[in-house]
């Protein structure tokens, strides 16, 4: 086992165009965001509210390390919590879902 093994994990990135807005003034904590599906040919599909988006799975050319800041006697340290190598990106404009 190599020292970096604990870094492989179940974390990834879901990248969305724009920002998420909550309808209520309360925080996001615990709230439902949307449904994620894959078409049979492998295209990720995300439904948020009344918006439908098609995305893409990607292996990140430049992976991300997730750093956690820790302030101790020796100054500030950042722990590498994990390395993130894959993401699903939705960069197309969402299509509105029109309910009949």
């Amino acid at each position: 086992m190599s020292p970096g093994d604990h870094l492989s994990s179940d974390l990834a990135i879901l990248e969305l165009q724009g920002d998420l807005k909550s309808h209520s003034d309360t925080g996001f904590e615990g709230k439902f965001i949307g449904d994620l599906h894959f078409t049979k040919s492998g295209t990720p599909v995300l439904i948020i509210g009344h918006h439908l988006m098609f995305g893409k799975e990607m292996k990140m050319e430049k992976p991300f390390a997730l750093l956690e800041k820790q302030t101790g006697d020796q100054g500030t340290e950042y722990m590498v919590k994990t390395i993130i190598t894959r993401k699903i990106i939705f960069k197309t404009r969402p299509k509105p879902i029109i309910s009949n």
């Binding site: 870094l7 994620l36 894959f38 995300l46 991300f64």
Partner: protein, 393 residues
């Protein structure tokens, strides 16, 4: 919809239908995405973009160092490299998700099923890194405060101005390997664990005493005796300085009757004495300089003009030819400014002449040749390649 009710398959299927997609159009396993119920505040977390080298270092469990005072740009150092760090903003939201399944994880599923994905943070920026150079100006500034001028001057030095290697590596924006290598090039000595610049005149005096022993003892140039050097001089020069200088200027040569002997590094000695002669003098008549230089070094050492590259420039067009001090350390770090200064000081340079002046700003991606191609204009004169300013008249 009741936001507190957990979504079930019916809800998900219903939404699919609204989106005019059938259950048969998608894989049997669908995922519902929720924010974590824990605090979403991610101020304590940052994304750092990695290149191959950084990725390997982290996988091997190596420590990376983030360094920078409030007035400095932040750098990231591995054991041998320095990266410039910049904050990159994205117009997209980056959701950090836990347990998100990818296509390959789900493609073989048969039964209609639901899995939960948790978003534990939303990010709009990340730290981006580009391979850079160590930032060394601060090193000189710090060491300038505690220049060693001899034991009789030590009372002038404040304790808080003294730095050991462990102190410097924390403050200086350079990797371990880069800092070690630059300290090796600088005239520093280690006294009581503290790294000190050696005053030029004191350095000259001490080294001259050491070299004088060659003649006094009729030593051959490759038969320098360490113990004898120490014994003869420890009353006038502190032993620690002698040892430091001996380390710096000699290599092992041979063993005679079980005694390790040394020889002085000819190039280093000649270079140092050239610097001493040029130090403080504006311009020098070239012939007079070369003669004084040859006389300053121990007999048998050859003062090669090529050793002057990086410390002085020679102007053969003037009558008589002159030489002037032009130390690399005093050039600006910024590449454009550096080239401007170089071409202002001398119109045309050969590659060996200019190389020592741009080596320090070169990187793996942008080596000396690439820098010259980008920032200078090449020309040929009698089969010799010269470089001059890109936009020279």
């Amino acid at each position: 919809m009741d936001e507190n009710k957990t979504r079930d398959l019916d809800d998900v299927n219903e939404m699919l239908k609204l989106a005019k997609l059938g259950e048969n159009d998608v894989l049997s396993t669908s995922q519902t995405v929720y924010f974590t119920s824990d605090n979403l505040n991610c101020d304590n977390f940052k994304f750092l973009e990695l290149d191959q080298h950084l990725l390997e270092e982290i996988k091997q469990g190596q420590t990376l160092y983030i360094k920078g005072d409030d007035d400095e740009n932040v750098v990231l150092c591995t054991k041998d490299r320095t990266y410039d760090v910049t904050g990159a903003e994205t117009s997209n939201s980056l959701l950090l998700v836990k347990n998100m399944a990818f296509f390959d994880d789900l493609k073989d599923g048969k039964e209609r099923a639901l899995q939960t994905v948790t978003v534990s943070g939303v990010f709009y920026d990340y730290l981006s890194v580009t391979p850079g150079k160590p930032h060394l100006k601060k090193l000189r500034d710090l060491l300038d405060k505690s220049v060693y001028k001899g034991p009789e001057h030590e009372y002038e030095i404040k304790n808080e101005d003294l730095y050991g290697y462990d102190d410097l590596i924390k403050i200086i924006q350079a990797s371990d390997q880069e800092l070690e290598s630059v300290l090796k090039q600088m005239n520093v000595v280690t006294i009581n664990g503290k790294i000190r610049l050696l005053d030029v005149e004191y350095h000259f005096r001490a080294l001259s005493y050491m070299l004088k022993l060659i003649e006094e003892n009729s030593w051959n140039l490759d038969e320098i005796d360490f113990d004898e050097t120490l014994n003869s001089l420890r009353d006038i020069i502190p032993e620690t300085i002698l040892k430091n200088l001996f380390d710096k200027y000699t290599t092992e040569s041979k063993i005679v009757d079980g005694l390790q002997l040394y020889s002085y590094k000819e190039r280093e000695i000649c270079r140092f004495f050239a610097q001493i002669l040029l130090y403080g003098a504006g311009k020098f008549n070239l012939e007079e300089f070369l003669q004084a230089w040859r006389e300053s070094v121990p007999e048998g050492m050859t003062c090669d003009e090529e050793l002057l590259h990086g410390i002085a420039i020679i102007d053969r067009k003037s009558d008589p030819p002159v030489i002037s001090a032009f130390p690399e350390e005093e050039l600006p770090e910024e590449i454009n400014a550096r080239f401007n200064k170089l071409f202002k000081a001398k119109e045309k340079w050969t590659v060996p002449e200019i190389t020592p002046y741009i080596q320090r700003v070169a990187t793996d991606k942008m080596d000396v040749n690439a820098l010259l191609a980008k920032f200078a204009r090449a020309s040929n004169s009698q089969g010799v390649k010269f470089y001059s300013a890109k936009h020279a008249k």
